[in-house]
Amino acid sequence: MTIAEIVKCLDARVLCGEENLGQRVTSACCSDLMSDALAFIHENAMLLTGITNAHVVRTAGILDLKCVAFVRGKVPPPDVIGMAREAGLVTMTVNKTMFTCAGLLYEGGLRGAPMCWPSRDEAAG
């Protein structure tokens, strides 16, 4: 799915990174634990989370994530949105629970990363 399609699917409000809405996302991860995200997220992924601090943007940068959706109607503080904007990360807020968001995206064709850790070849992209 493109990020623009994800925005439409979730009826989300884009907070920053509008210029990158055409990028494609191939998998998603739902987590409020950044260490879990670091362990399980694959290439070209998006993160759905209820955490709104700067660590989410830093984690996204480490993982080269395409976009982050803040669920349960959460909106990060302006400095965090500023960091994301500077990094070219698309962020959005969704007034739905994480479960509902995941369901809508799955229905839309997006899949999660496999539970097992990626093989070294996959991790190498």
Binding site: L33, T49, H55, G61
Partner: protein, 138 residues
């Protein structure tokens, strides 16, 4: 050959991730491939967070030569009482403050080990923990 040393303070949540971002930037400038870059960045981020969350402060050393990228961390204690337990996925002693910020999933050490080509840990109570992880340059 590249060498860099980063001092990391205990509890420095505000600047957590800055060291890893710098390491990633440096490696990118050296032309390291995207997959290796990602594995090193994830591991250094976990290393950095472990020092911030669990230790009394420490350092991370980055060394790059033609064949290997090496990350070495050394902290000033208190040390890990049971390393085998700490290596178990999901086991964490992180406090409420770390968890509120999205850390403490108990994936730090296993995540480092999984991403690196070699992983070595040595910990002694009262003295501290030393971790060496290496990545083969493709």
């Amino acid at each position: 050959m590249v060498r860099a040393e980063y001092e990391i303070a205990s509890g420095a949540y505000d600047c957590a991730g800055e060291v890893s971002s710098d390491i990633k930037r440096q490696l990118k400038q050296l032309g390291i491939d995207a997959g290796t870059l990602r594995r090193v960045a994830v591991s250094s981020y976990e290393m950095e967070m472990n020092i911030i969350i669990h230790s009394l402060g420490g350092v991370i050393n980055l060394t790059v030569d033609n064949e290997w990228i090496t990350l070495f961390s050394k902290d000033r204690g208190p040390g890990i009482p049971d390393v085998e337990l700490a290596m178990r996925e999901g086991f964490s002693t992180a406090g409420e403050d770390a968890r509120n910020m999205g850390f403490g999933a108990g994936m730090g050490l296993p995540n480092m080990k999984r991403n690196a080509d070699t992983f070595n840990i040595f910990s002694q109570m009262e003295e501290g923990t030393r971790i060496t992880i290496t990545f083969r340059v493709i």
